[in-house]
């Protein structure tokens, strides 16, 4: 095992991109593959600066298609590896991620959402939720975490490696350009000192022994001849995904017990929503917040339960209905009016949410 980069708990003031690089180091990640794109560039910059000191590696590939497939290569070799991308890069990476989904490979990708579609802005959005959750030609059998702070970026980047290797589904940390570029306080720690055991990684190809005689052949397939074959494999994966769901789903509820107005927001927008809830409460409106932390799998049961006594729902997101669609799917059959504050590619302040809620 390579040298430990963090000892004890370290308070620090840094950008989110730097936090992610430190998190990958602390998680014992051995290799990063990547191709530059704003706003995630500094993840690579910090990683390449830090990696040699801790005997970790880096490969800059020719594009994101290659970054995705080399990440798969690292995983097949049994290494704890990751890549990071955004926007158009995330689009290109979907080919490799669909393959990872088919072959059940524990890839880890950090996405720092920027404005879309296409090149759009390098700044910020929440428009890569659909793409990151369902981007492949498949069923979206992925784990997607949505962090909302630097402490989240650190913890969920570490957790992404563990969830990926434990359940063997492609795992994503869905950040955004604001979180990447923001400077804010964070506490860095060594996961083992906090009692977290890193899931072991193991090679899937090039195993010792004669295939077929001394061991089962390593036959990882992304191609099938028969409908029945594919259907059987996918049915198994779907079953695994569904049985994993209760263990993996995470959410956060604020002031929800007597909430009549329930605001639903994820990621950085949930911070504005939380501030808005406080203001609305001070003004006598019983508001609460539900923040899904896992977007895939979505905390369906929890949202349905906690929506119980709410009379109105508001979805707030920096996209045009991507989270709203997930919420509506989760709440199918319930008869609670839902209105959404949708600002594709735009940051959202608490003041806007308060105003929107009061105008309803």
């Amino acid at each position: 095992m390579v040298t430990k980069p963090i000892k004890g708990e370290q308070r620090s003031f840094m950008t989110g991109n730097e936090v992610i690089a430190w998190a990958a180091l602390a998680a014992g990640c051995e290799f990063m593959y990547g191709y530059p794109i704003t706003p995630q560039n500094e993840i690579m910059h910090y990683w390449t600066r830090l990696a040699p000191k801790y005997e970790r590696g880096f490969l800059q590939t020719e594009d994101e298609i290659s970054a995705g497939f080399t990440t798969i290569g690292g995983v097949l070799a049994g290494k704890r590896v990751f890549t990071a991308t955004a926007g158009p890069g995330n689009v290109l990476m979907q080919e490799a991620m669909a393959m990872a989904e088919m072959m059940r490979l524990p890839t880890v990708v950090v996405v720092t959402q920027r404005g879309g579609p296409s090149t759009a802005t390098v700044i910020y959005s929440q428009q890569e939720l659909n793409l990151t959750s369902f981007g492949g030609n498949g069923e979206g059998l992925r784990i997607v975490y949505s962090p909302a702070s630097h402490d989240d970026l650190f913890s969920y980047t570490i957790k992404a490696f563990n969830s990926a290797w434990k359940y063997r589904f492609p795992t994503f940390v869905l950040g955004d350009g604001y979180q990447s570029k923001m400077r804010a306080p964070v506490t860095l720690y060594d996961p083992e000192e906090r009692g977290l055991t890193m899931e072991p990684c193991y090679p899937m190809v090039g195993l010792p022994g004669l295939p077929g005689e001394e061991r089962e052949p390593a036959h990882l397939r992304n191609t099938y001849n028969l409908e029945e074959e594919l259907f059987a494999i996918l049915s198994d994966s779907i079953k695994d995904y569904e049985s994993m769901t209760p263990e993996v789903v995470e959410w956060e509820a604020t002031a929800i017990d007597d909430a009549e107005l329930l605001i639903i927001a994820h990621g950085i927008v949930s911070r504005a929503a939380r501030a808005a809830v406080q203001v609305l409460r001070e003004e006598g409106l019983k508001a609460g917040l539900f923040r899904p932390i896992t977007l895939r799998p979505f905390p369906v049961a929890e949202l349905r339960r906690l929506t119980g006594q709410a009379r109105r729902l508001i979805v707030v997101e920096s996209a045009y209905g991507q989270l709203e669609k997930m919420v509506k799917t989760a709440l199918y059959g319930l008869k609670i009016p839902l209105r959404s504050y949708l600002r594709p590619g735009m940051g959202i302040t608490p003041e806007e949410i308060v105003q929107f809620a009061k105008e309803l």
């Binding site: 003031f13 090149t119 390098v122 570029k181 927008v269 302040t349 608490p350």
Partner: protein
């Protein structure tokens, strides 16, 4: 001055707006405040208006951006216009003296404002590159939130490597900072 401060800085790319924001937020963090700084930028590598948002508070900071700032600093013609949306009735507008006409035509004389001769002082008495450090001094004097020692420590952390190469730069920067503090003294308390 309350315990929370929202600052929006706007200038031309290369004027050093982001460095000022970084130093302020770092100084606030080391002084024990909650601090959050976020830059705003376009696809271009150079040129364009560079915006920075800084929040300092005793309490946990929520959203990284805000509607209205307590202090807006505008350092170029375009920046006056671009930063307009963050100026509310209570906002103090700090700008370089050379932009007086621009500011007057946009805001009239009602807005709380402070014009400072930073550009001319930097060019004639110091060096154009310390323009932003003068601004830093003005802001810190006006905000009256952080001790000078915290600001200086953050300045050292940001520029220490350059000072090490050329010690005369340290003297120049401290002189610019001091000059900024003095300019700020004539200003309106936030």
């Amino acid at each position: 001055m309350g315990v929370s401060l929202k600052i929006a800085l706007a200038g031309e790319g290369g004027q050093g707006v982001q460095s000022v924001a970084e130093i302020i937020s770092e100084a606030a963090y080391t002084a024990g405040y909650q601090a959050l700084y976020i830059p705003n930028f376009g696809v271009e590598q150079r040129g364009g208006v560079s915006l920075a948002f800084v929040q300092i508070s005793r309490e946990q900071i929520g959203a990284p951006k805000f509607m209205l700032a307590d202090v807006v600093v505008a350092l170029s013609h375009r920046a006056v216009d671009r930063s307009r949306q963050y100026v509310g009735p209570e906002t103090l507008l700090i700008y370089d003296e050379s932009l007086r006409d621009e500011v007057r035509s946009l805001y009239g004389t009602e807005q709380k404002q402070l014009a400072i001769p930073a550009l001319v002082v930097a060019q004639q008495e110091m060096h154009p590159r310390v323009f932003n450090v003068i601004i830093l001094g003005v802001l810190m004097q006006v905000a009256d939130l952080l001790e000078r020692s915290h600001v200086e420590r953050a300045l050292e952390r940001r520029l220490g490597h350059k000072f090490a190469q050329d010690p005369s730069l340290r003297e120049l920067n401290y002189r610019a900072l001091e000059r900024g503090y003095q300019m700020g003294k004539g200003g309106v308390a936030v």
